[in-house]
Amino acid sequence: MNEQMKRSLAQGHIDRRSFMAAALAAGVTLSAASLMVGEAMAAEPKKGGKLRVGYTQGATSDSMDPATFNNDFMFALGYAVFSSLVELGPDGTAQPDLAEHFEASPDAKTWTFRIRDGVKFSDGKTVSARDVVASISYHMGENSKSGIKPLLVQIAEMKADGDNTVVFTLNEGNADFPYIFNDYHLGIRPAQADGSIDPATTIGSGGYTVESFEPGVRAVLKRRNDYWKPGRAHFDTVELMAIADPAARMNALITDEVDLIDRPDLKTIHMLKRNKDIKIHTQNGTLHYVLPMQTDVAPFSDNNVRMALKYAINREEIVSKVLKGYGVVGNDQPIAPSMPFYNAALKPRAYDPDKAKSYLKKSGLTSLDVDLHTADAAFNGAVDTSVLFSESAKAAGINIKVVREPDDGYWSNVWLKKPFCTSYWGGRPTADLMFSSAYAAGADWNESHFNNPRFNELLVQARSELDQAKRGEMYGEMQRLVSDEGGTIVPAFGQYVSAMNKRVQMPDAVTQLWDLDGVRFIERWWLA
């Protein structure tokens, strides 16, 4: 009864009195019924208000240059001001955004994107295929320093076909090609006369314009009244503030200086919960933590050693002690339960020191000594995770020496360099993107140097396979291969946790890729 009635109330088909009468007749108490009315009313977006956000990340080195976007502050700003061709919906599929339609040739090698008519940039000019080509080519080519360049290498040719059509010809078939355009780097900017974009421009076709921007301090965004997308962009103004210190961020929320904060300190979040004006939102997603072992370096080159280590780690303990319960146990492969083609049959390995010992025996060892390089720069709690692992592995005869590296320069000197370290992945929208970024042979970020011939074969096959069932089988097998033979220990998937004033509302279903509704909360959420 509840959801149906609530929706009717929210849409105005029945009035409050009738709802209450029905609820009471169904045996709901008076106070619960009133609460339900409140909830139902809140489910419909309301325009107006000012949202103030306390963001953890945001540095004075930030700029509007999309090639250098590297923190949540800029991702959120980018999504609010610039449109993507495609956006990721709550169900994890690619939905039309600026591109109202996209389709592939049967071999998935040629893709045609149709750009919506009549969409205007904030300076009044109409968005055309030329702008799209200019915006994307900025991230391609020899001279590009963009973080998304590796994913655009597959584009052999890109051209505008008239004002509203862009045709992409790929090097090989890719059924998931549209998903790439959800990325925050690829917001569409106006093309200049010479076909390039101005990386510093603030003119976009998104729902908001930049009223002021002080990198590392704050940005103020104002809603555009001529935003073409229906049912989006509800806040009148949005103020993003960079508050790096966790205590300062939480205090700002408690004293009502901000309405929403990300990454509240998990150690003290139970105290934040006590505040009656604040609600905590947790979201399962694609974020996961990894301990990659380089599979071409001894002793990790022996799969028995890798399996021993996978059984020597206590995953439940890590979720409860390091993530404070805000996580889900992982099964040594990177595809999250929320993603399409997740293989639910692959169960996580329980902590089993005896099995670990037997695997060691199989590889001819009675004990094992390894160094684990870690720093909290890898992920918050990486050092704690490593220490817990070291302790739990002792029972299996494995001695893990935790080497604490400096935070500074971790990504240049430790990750991808040391044979056994810690890292994290924010996640990718599709299995293909995730596997291609970190597990494909020869990929720049293949941290475990994974090179399994069957996996590589399946990866290419599945990419161009348009039959969903067949793809599901292929990705299922690939997940098993990574879990059983790969060099990456994935102990847990992290949940996204955010805290906000009860006034802040979001749709019933939010996107599970990245924090805060795929970082698109500025145009999707509203104030009650």
Binding site: K145, A242, T255
Partner: protein, 318 residues
């Protein structure tokens, strides 16, 4: 040219040489740090090609000494360069944050220095009494607690438990001077509590030291009231060490407040410097580093000049 004028000119000359040496040390220091701007900004998403392209764009592929002299040449023309990270003009980037740092430092100094000196005189006057002991204990406690702890404590007491002041010191939103002072009261109070003890206790110690002299005993025998003895006879002779301590603390108020800036999310020079160092943004690090060095040099110079002026023997140069 008088002795004092010669001294000042000499010190300015020396100061410029110091700044040059400091700029070289900063350059070497930033260069020695692992990684460079391209790696720090691209982070996990870096690939060898994108790193190379980024370095080429910023001129980071040039040898170190060329980059340093390029920068130095710019400085002689008054151009402090552009931030490597986002291309903003360094002078433009630093200007507003410098103003904010000076505002907060000034706010704290204007209250802290007179209060510290007055308290110092009072505890010297009432030395050994309960008042003296309590004042000392409180002041020492304030200075022993780390500044972020004092900051958190003030936020808890004055912003969360009692909603008297804002927990975020957002100067940009202040329309009037009064509002600016209100919004930045908590960080200013934190700074005041942190620097008060040092100045107060040095005042007390210097005065008590002078009070042991024979001419003070003479004044006492003459029947002068104690407060007059301290203000007219003891304090002027105790000024030199007090001025030095005040100068040191004023320099700290400009240079050492990054922790307070972080706790109150106050966009001053400290946070800018930390961000710039983390990203290896050399022109910004240089500009801020040199400003901090110059602050110390100027304040030390003023302190020395004032000490000389306060001492008639040094003034007349005999």
């Amino acid at each position: 040219m008088s002795r004092l004028q010669k001294l000042i000119l000499g010190r300015i000359g020396l100061g410029i040489v110091t700044l040059a040496v400091v700029s070289m040390l900063i350059f070497v220091g930033v260069d020695l740090l692992p990684g460079d701007l391209a790696q720090q900004i691209l982070g996990q998403s870096a690939t060898p090609e994108t790193l190379a392209a980024y370095r080429l764009e910023l001129g980071l592929d040039q040898p170190a000494y060329l980059r340093y002299f390029d920068w130095l040449g710019g400085v002689f023309h008054g151009d402090f360069g552009h931030s490597l990270a986002n291309g903003r003009d360094v002078a433009e980037l630093i200007g507003p944050r410098l103003a904010k740092t000076m505002f907060l430092a000034g706010y704290a100094a204007v209250i802290a220095v007179p209060v510290a000196l007055t308290l110092g005189v009072l505890v010297a006057l009432f030395r050994g009494t309960l008042f003296d002991r309590i004042a000392n204990v409180l002041a020492l406690s304030a200075v022993s607690l780390p500044e972020f702890f004092v900051g958190y404590l003030l936020i808890l007491l004055l912003a969360v438990k009692v909603a008297a002041f804002p927990s975020l010191a957002r100067l940009d939103d202040a329309a009037t001077w009064g509002e600016a002072l209100y919004r930045t009261f908590l960080p200013a109070l934190t700074l005041i509590l942190v620097v008060l003890a040092h100045m107060m206790r040095m005042t007390r110690a210097a005065i008590i030291n002078v009070l042991a002299s024979p001419y003070i005993e003479m004044a006492r025998l003459k029947g002068m009231p104690p407060i007059k003895i301290i203000l007219r006879h003891a304090l002027p002779n105790a000024l030199a060490p007090i001025i030095n301590v005040v100068a040191l603390n004023l320099a700290y108020l400009v240079v050492g407040v990054v922790v307070v800036e972080v706790v109150f999310a106050y966009p001053g020079l400290g946070q800018l410097l930390v961000d710039a160092v983390v990203k290896r943004d050399f022109p910004v690090v240089q500009a801020v580093g040199l400003f901090f060095a110059a602050t110390y040099i100027v304040l030390n110079l003023i302190a020395d000049v004032l000490s000389i002026l306060a001492n008639p023997r040094l003034r007349s140069g005999r």
